[in-house]
Amino acid sequence: MSDELAFAGVVELARRVRAKEVSAREVADAFLSRIDAHDGALGTYLVVDHDGARAQADAVDAAIAGGADPGPLAGVAMAVKDVIVTEGLVTTAASKILAGWVPPYDATAVARLRAAGAVILGKLNCDEFAMGSSNERSAWKPCRNPWDRDRVPGGSSGGSAAAVAAGLAAASLGTDTGGSIRQPAAFCGVVGFKPTYGRVSRWGAIAFASSLDQIGPLARSVGDAARVLEVIAGLDPRDSTSIDQPAPALEAALAAGVAGLKVGLPREYFEGSIDAEVAAAVHAAGAALVAAGAELCEVSLPHTRYALPAYYVIAPAEAASNLARYDGVRFGHRATARELGDMYATTRAEGFGPEVKRRIMIGTYALRAGYYDAYYKKAQQVRALIKRDFDQAFELVDVILAPTTPTPAFAIGEKATPLDMYQTDVFTLACNLAGIPGLAVPVGAATSGLPIGAQLLGRPLDEATVVRAGAVIEAAFGTKRPPAGGAA
């Protein structure tokens, strides 16, 4: 019973709860008991809110009993990456500098989930301040891949992907600054959706790189991710970068098919270090689109190789500015010091982990007087050229199909240097720099049994076309469960 509910999915759970086939409380209890039984070995949750989740579920059941419509996520048990704030529920961004912090408000995306009837089970593990590609940079504990516990779940939204793969949440929220939703989705064999920049309010998303950060869903199917994104998308007066457009009609696009759609395969993504099985799986996804009536052609994104260097100037520079707020004055950790300047510097040295310090240092270096033009301005100009590459490609094709990652999930401890780790995001960064939507979908498995992901990149605000193609690929490959549901 409990396992069946855990893998039923968002749309199906909401249907059953609204039809009174199961109560929201039964759904919440099923997930909570699975988390209690299995999460010790996986480490996907940082906080499990047993009492809060049951109270939310009871409120949904009471609304239904009273004849009210509890919303499109009625009783759907979800969880939220720890960089997204939740009122009354400890939120640390997986950092010691925010140990024990209890936010006084909900992020807009979380408030919209609650208003749609979702039940929030707890906070999910991630890399500290979303800086990482493996979840190994969490200050609190490692998170493991449900397909192979010696491997990473990806990052930075590692807990968000692993929890959904293992049936410990029906869906989750993550954030994607350079691939942090799509890369772990690919590693864990689930769907991950990074919306157009500005589609979802960043109010309450703890800032890493403000011109790149975007909240999005991870789920077991394209339809589930579409349902969640429709709920959280839309203008928010509290985020001046949120776009004044109605939420896209994504569920309506699921069955639209791809007949006549032009799909581009970017040549540069298949040169160099890509694993042969990953390349073959992406080509198989292309063949599935062709079989459904799409037209496939090669496109070129000539500045692809400069996405990584541009990203590792822009993102650290913005991070260095954003993380200046962690000074020990208003919240979080404070070091003991006799005077203020020492208190700032010691608090930050004690509270931040090595990767966060590294990025603050790179960003500070790039922004300092005399270096700005050579680094930050240059990177912003290259960013404009990367965006132009996509604009030109989208004059020829409607959607781009590419690998999400060069390889399947790597082993814990495998990436020895910071640059080795950064290279694992080489295919996901350009999407954020250009601000376009990206949907990661499973496309089968390697001979090792590990999942492989492909990503669909679309025009700005054209999530609907991305969903159409994603649904066709999903129908061809399906979504599989890890061995013993990740609970072995």
Binding site: P237, Y306, R348, V382
Partner: protein
């Protein structure tokens, strides 16, 4: 490229990070490797290219100038490491003259 200990210490000072000798030494080599990698940007011809500051064109959005509720003082101070008389409390701002 080669970074000196002094340069790295200066950046740490600008970033308000009190780093020890061992940490500075590790960062000295790591930062140099990362800066070598991003130096590839210099290969790209960018003359006349307008820097892209944001993913979408952003404009300041106006809102009605109306009074709304703000965070109550006791809520804002609830997570403070130290508070006194309705204010955040911090150590001495100016070094005592000796």
């Amino acid at each position: 490229m080669v970074l000196t200990r002094e340069e790295v210490a200066e950046i740490a000072q600008l970033a308000r990070l009190a780093l020890g000798d061992a940490e500075l030494e590790v960062l000295r080599t790591e930062l140099a490797a990362i800066l070598d990698h991003v130096a590839a940007l210099q290969e790209v011809e960018t003359t006349g290219v307008e820097p892209m500051t944001h993913a979408v064109p952003t404009m300041l959005r106006l809102r009605p100038d109306t009074v709304a509720a703000s965070l109550p003082v006791e809520v804002a101070l609830a997570d403070a490491p130290a508070a006194k008389d309705g204010c955040f409390e911090v150590p001495a701002i100016i070094k005592a003259a000796t």
